[in-house]
């Protein structure tokens, strides 16, 4: 039996390191999260409020908050409550930091970026 075009595309787009495929599909599944992960990769010791992180990333705090909370939920980031203030930072977990490093380094490859964009758009449908 001959695979149809969609199957072929899906197989082609799934052709990446399984850990990174899972990272893209389940953790960095929006463009804002991608931006945030890149920001924290470049500035790994940032710890701040939603408003300030949104300002650093040049985005709206209302849009950034649910994305940060998703990243906390998926273990990419951590959230601490101090005197009623939520402070977000990159998870202090070697495995997760290594995965973030691998994702950002993989993004230097155009083919990987195309595949990541494909999965993010599919996930947003």
């Amino acid at each position: 039996m001959v695979a149809n075009g969609d199957d072929f595309t899906a197989r082609l787009m799934n052709d990446m390191d399984p850990a990174l495929l899972d990272f893209v599909k389940s953790k960095v599944n929006s463009f804002i999260k991608w931006d945030l992960v890149r920001f924290f990769y470049e500035n790994p010791n940032t710890a701040d409020t939603v408003d300030n992180i949104a300002r650093y990333a040049g985005r709206n705090a209302t849009a950034v908050k649910p994305e940060l909370d998703d990243l906390v939920e998926s273990g990419v980031m951590e959230k601490r409550e101090v005197e009623g203030t939520s402070i977000y930072s990159l998870a202090d977990n070697e495995d997760m930091r290594e995965l973030v490093d691998r994702f950002i380094l993989a993004c230097e490859d155009r083919h990987f970026r195309v595949k990541a964009v494909y999965h993010i758009i599919r996930g947003m449908r």
Binding site: A47, D48, V82
Partner: protein, 253 residues
Amino acid sequence: MDHVQTGITGLDEMLFGGFLPQTANLVEGAPGTGKTTIGMQFIYNGIVEFNEPGLIITFEEFPQQYYHDASEFGWDFEQLEKDGKLKVIMTSPEVSRLDVESVGGMIETSVSRMGARRVLVDSITHFERLTQDPVELRSLEYSFINGLKREGLTSLLTRESPTLLGEASHDDSNVAFVVDSYTLLRYVEIESTIYRALLVLKMRGSDHAKDIRQFEITEHGVEVRSKFEGREGIMSGNPRRMVDSFVEAFVKR
């Protein structure tokens, strides 16, 4: 008492050996005078010359900017971070204040894990956005500085001065009263050339040089040179030759 050497040529001599341990030390100056360079050099020298790991707390510049600026002087901050000797923390005054006051905060954790001994806070000026009330501001700064001391850190705090040349304008900050030492950086115009001047205004618990010295930012960082000879009014930004002042005061009368 042992001093915490900055390792900056000429500055330790002015400080009679360096800063005192677990003190807060303010370096104030206009944009481009070299405050952050002095701070980075204090941290870098601490790590490579004195085996004292350090933290940089930045309220505005991205860590990438520090990596880049440091590399211009041949200081590899990224490698030092990988080696666990340095941590460049980007945060805000409100969060850093809460952090230093809380148990198990990032600063406390860094001190215990890395053995950090020095910290650069760049810049303390950003605390001014926390409150309009000068009394409350002084209290916030005092509390933050005491938190750093409690952690055993010797801190260098930068403060922005909006005045490029001439006398500094009055503002509401009292941070100069809260810190243990206060160093002022100024631009000085002499015969149509801009020079940089440095003056240690105060240092609690130790004597220090009282003269105003010229300094330069070289490819190796800041180097403090000799004092300005035969000039007065250096800190006004527009000094006069002392002989001119003498002539004006006595000969032209």
